[in-house]
């Protein structure tokens, strides 16, 4: 099947998912991001690469945080950024998703950064837009959040170098998590030999093993000797249905505490895509502890997004 993310020369045209991306492209993004980290350490944190380009942050689902990181990334590339929170405006007036996109494309958009509650929304937009417009998926339903997956890979590489010797655990609500899906694909593409997911059965999708992971229900066993732990955010609403009995019980069995961290390798790094729920999925002692790289993740996130935007804009 034709990969909708690549153009006929095999270059990245849209970034919709990490699934199906050649390892070479993933590495190229990470390598390019290294240069942008260096840019961010300068007096002037801006480069003129995307001068004159119009980038639209198209957020059908609210997320100030992700939107801001994309906005900063675009501005550091000297692009013009327009932020649109569609959730509140046109969609409620009955305009369809593609009508909205067409309207913005008519305003000479060069790139759309799309966040949408439905899986596949950015694929739909990518298929629809004119050839010169690029689409970056900033999170679609439960499907993918590829820049988050990439920035996590960037972080792991910074601290652990060689992917092919690592054991990585992803803990929490994999079922509803686009972040987890993107991480699993990315870790596989980069050759991580052992990827573990740790969660109660109610928070795992069917046949998750088909994605190349080992399933653990016991967090202590799952954390044994891992090099990196990626915690997932647990939405409060999961407590309301029959998925979990209570936050209290979840924290007891799947909350990331110092005691549990002791089972990972002594130099294991702790990651979280944010925003964190302290005392629900992670203890402050772990989140703020010496093994936490949660804040560097945020810094690297900007560099990775700059890398993705410049590679797309140049294809």
């Amino acid at each position: 099947m034709e990969n909708p993310q690549l153009n006929q020369h095999g270059e990245l045209r849209h970034l919709l998912s990490i699934e199906g991306l050649p390892a070479g492209i993933v590495r190229h993004i990470l390598d390019t991001a290294e240069s942008f980290v260096a840019v961010a350490e300068r007096e002037v944190k801006k480069v003129p690469l995307l001068r004159g380009k119009a980038i639209f942050n198209l957020f059908f689902e609210n997320s100030t945080r992700t939107r801001t990181t994309f906005e900063i990334a675009a501005k550091r590339l000297s692009a013009d950024v327009v932020n649109l929170n569609i959730g509140a405006s046109s969609q409620s007036k009955g305009e369809t998703l593609l009508d909205t996109v067409d309207n913005l494309a008519a305003m000479q958009a060069d790139m759309f950064i799309v966040r949408h509650g439905q899986s596949g929304a950015s694929h739909l937009i990518a298929r629809h837009v004119a050839p010169h417009i690029h689409v970056i998926n900033a999170g679609d339903g439960r499907h993918a959040h590829p820049t988050q997956g990439l920035l996590d890979m960037f972080t792991i590489r910074r601290y652990k170098q060689d992917f092919t010797r690592l054991r990585v655990a992803i803990v929490g609500d994999v079922l509803h998590s686009r972040v987890a899906r993107s991480e699993i694909h990315a870790l596989n593409v980069l050759g991580v030999p052992e990827i573990r997911v740790i969660a109660p059965k109610t928070l795992l999708p069917a046949e998750v093993e088909q994605m190349g992971v080992h399933v653990y229900h016991d967090m202590i066993k799952g954390l044994k000797d891992v090099d990196a732990v990626i915690m997932l955010r647990l939405q409060n609403e999961r407590m309301r249905g029959a998925l979990l009995p209570s936050a209290h019980e979840y924290y007891k069995y799947y909350g990331f505490t110092k005691d549990k961290l002791a089972h990972a390798k002594p130099d294991a790094i702790v990651m979280h895509p944010g925003p964190m729920n302290r005392g629900i999925e992670i203890e402050s002692g772990v989140a703020d502890g010496g093994q936490s790289v949660i804040l560097p993740q945020v810094t690297f996130g900007i560099a990775v997004r700059m890398a993705v935007m410049s590679i797309l804009a140049g294809s």
Partner: protein, 167 residues
Amino acid sequence: MQLPDAEQLVNQLIAQLRPLAGPGTGLVGIRSGGAWLAERMHSALGLTTPLGTLDISFYRDDFSRIGLHPAVEPSNIPFEVDGCSIILVDDVLYTGRTVRAAMNELFDYGRPASIHLAVLVDRGGRELPIAAQSVGARLALLPEQNIQLNQDSSGRFSLSLHRVEEN
């Protein structure tokens, strides 16, 4: 066409630059050829300020046509640019666009006191009002000719001539 000996040119260039090299002089090479040359010059001139390298990929003016260079590396200017006298080094000066990009990038690090441009070969064909103060050799080349600096495993420099590939 007989190309000059690169090693000889480097030495000439170093000799030309020696009077400029003071304790506060910053040396910056443009990746990749300019960075190789700058490395040689840095030790030959006995400079104390650490060597800088620029990767001008993010400043190129042909980005929208050819996209991002496939192997961008971080630029590294490990000294204070503000008020510094900088020698900027590149292997070949042609249209002047690379130097324009490099100067723009340098200014994003700070405001240098001066920039002195040193190139191994000036092949003419300028498209911008840019000139080098120190030049190893001046060659008149045809547009379809491409001159390239090479460095072998022992660190020796040589020049070679290629035909520009048709795209």
